[in-house]
């Protein structure tokens, strides 16, 4: 799977959970600071990422996923 495909999938999940326009969801964006996503929504996003890409996201890893790019890299490594 390419990084673009992963980014597209994550953007769809973030849009579904938090209502952020998919065009806003780019690699350099911070979930909290740029996309205004709270910790509750991050848990929902992690569960959906697991379902979609098969990559488990333990809580201590979730805390390290600050940007959309971090999440894409994580999925690329663990899918």
């Amino acid at each position: 799977m390419t990084n673009e495909e992963i980014l597209g999938g994550i953007a769809e999940i973030v849009n579904e959970v938090a209502g952020v326009e998919t065009s806003e969801i780019t690699m350099d964006k911070s979930f909290v600071d740029d996309l205004d996503i709270d910790s509750l929504s991050m848990v929902e996003i992690a569960v959906q990422v697991e379902d979609r890409f098969g990559s488990k996201v333990p809580d201590d890893e979730l805390a390290n996923l600050k940007t959309v790019g971090d999440a894409v890299d994580y999925v690329a490594k663990h899918a």
């Binding site: 209502g19 910790s39 509750l40 929504s41 929902e44 569960v47």
Partner: protein
């Protein structure tokens, strides 16, 4: 002492998605009650197959993510609060956040969320349970989300007193304003729990109408042939202000919440005192705190849910605390019983009756129970000039709340 004026109204009910359509529906004698179409009435063989569903589904009004994050009772609270806030002409610059409070009650809260998440837990396991489960099911959720939306920092409260919750919220708001704690309170009630288990539970109490073949004829407060209430859903919210504060910002007052009275029966967990003593004490207290003479009360917007005992007890309470002269109307005949939202929505309609000089008809009143011994408006709305009107609300647990509204 400062007077409390009403500057904004908001509602979403089985008769309409806002105050204007709800009020127009009531005045024209429309019913919001219909057959339940979900399959669970058949599956569980429920004896009750009618309810008063919202006229406008919240998902038609809210953003998709708002609807996703909020339980239905929170959705209706925010919808009603937005309308009331706009109606009051308030912006975030008009009131200090520390001088703005929210008081919104609910009877049951996020029961539907609890049930849905419980099913998910059992069927798909822990990881499918939403992290929003708790904020969606907690009964202070409706108040908290409205507080967040408006940036209220003067306190957010959520009275829980069953079917008196919405009225109790208005009573608490009045006390906060009279004490000078804050300048503006956004107050009301919200409820949305039309699903199998609340209906099964109420039905087992024999509290609900089973007139399933005639949904619009089922809710019959004060009628000799009444057989219980019909469950509804919705929300009502008022913006209340200290009179000086409203005047200083040039806000129009639509009426006054002149006084409030609360009492408790300490009689039975669900049954009212048959002679209505506790209810009468609440009404008398509301007249006293409002400085309103009983002879000036032209109208009572009755709680009257159409249970055998409750309606007669309320009529006795009205006769002993106010007298034989007030003209009654029972809004639950068309709205259904909105539980924790009932007192707030009906408080709004009490105020509108004074403003417009019109009392809506009580539907399905073919033959008044001879024990009522009061004039109940039936058929069509009655035009009458009103100086003061009382709104009653009572809740399981023995909670009694009376609100007295007067002209602006």
């Amino acid at each position: 002492m400062t007077d409390v004026v009403v500057t904004g109204l908001g509602a979403t009910t089985p008769l309409g998605g806002d105050v204007a359509s709800t009020w127009a529906g009531m005045l024209s004698g429309r019913s919001g009650i219909s057959a339940i179409t979900e399959d669970w009435v058949e599956r569980y063989e429920l004896p009750v197959r009618i309810a008063a569903r919202l006229a406008t589904d919240p998902t038609e009004v809210l953003k998709r993510v708002e609807a996703r994050r909020w339980d239905r009772c929170e959705q209706v609270a925010v919808i009603a609060a937005r309308e009331a806030w706009k109606h009051a002409g308030l912006t975030e610059h008009d009131v200090e956040p520390e001088r703005l409070a929210v008081v919104i009650g609910t009877g049951i809260g996020g029961a539907v969320t609890l049930l849905e998440q419980d099913s998910l837990l059992k069927q798909e396991g822990m990881r499918k349970v939403s992290p929003l489960t708790i904020p969606m099911l907690m009964p202070n959720g409706p108040a908290a989300y409205v507080g967040l939306e408006l940036g209220a920092r003067g306190g957010v409260h959520a009275p829980v007193s069953a079917c008196a919750s919405g009225a109790e919220a208005l009573a608490i708001a009045w006390r906060m304003l009279r004490a000078g704690e804050v300048d503006v309170v956004v107050a009301g009630g919200a409820e949305a729990c039309i699903t199998a288990i609340p209906i099964a539970g109420f039905a087992q109490m024999r509290a609900m109408s089973t007139r399933n073949a005639e949904p619009e004829r089922a809710s019959r407060p004060f009628d000799s042939d009444r057989d219980g209430f019909v469950l509804g859903e919705g929300a009502g919210v008022m913006v209340l202000e200290r009179e000086e504060f409203a005047a200083a910002r040039g806000a129009a007052a639509h009426g006054r919440l002149a006084g409030v009275g609360t009492s408790s029966d300490a009689y039975h967990i669900t049954g009212p005192e048959p002679d209505g003593t506790g209810a009468a004490r609440a009404i008398s207290a509301a007249l006293r705190t409002g400085g309103v003479d009983a002879t000036d009360v032209g109208h009572v917007n009755a709680h009257a849910t159409a249970t055998a005992v409750g309606d007669v007890a309320e009529a006795a309470a009205i006769r002993s605390s106010i007298g034989d002269h007030p003209v009654l109307s029972a809004p639950k005949s068309g709205l259904g019983h909105l539980l924790g939202a009932a007192g707030a929505v009906e408080g709004i309609t009490t105020l509108l009756a004074i403003r417009d000089g019109a009392i809506p008809p009580t539907l399905n009143l073919d033959e008044v129970d001879p024990e009522v011994k009061l004039d109940v408006v039936a058929g069509t709305a009655r035009e009458v000039e009103l100086h003061a009107a009382v709104n009653d609300s009572f809740g399981f647990g023995g909670h009694n709340v009376a609100l007295v509204f007067t002209q602006a």
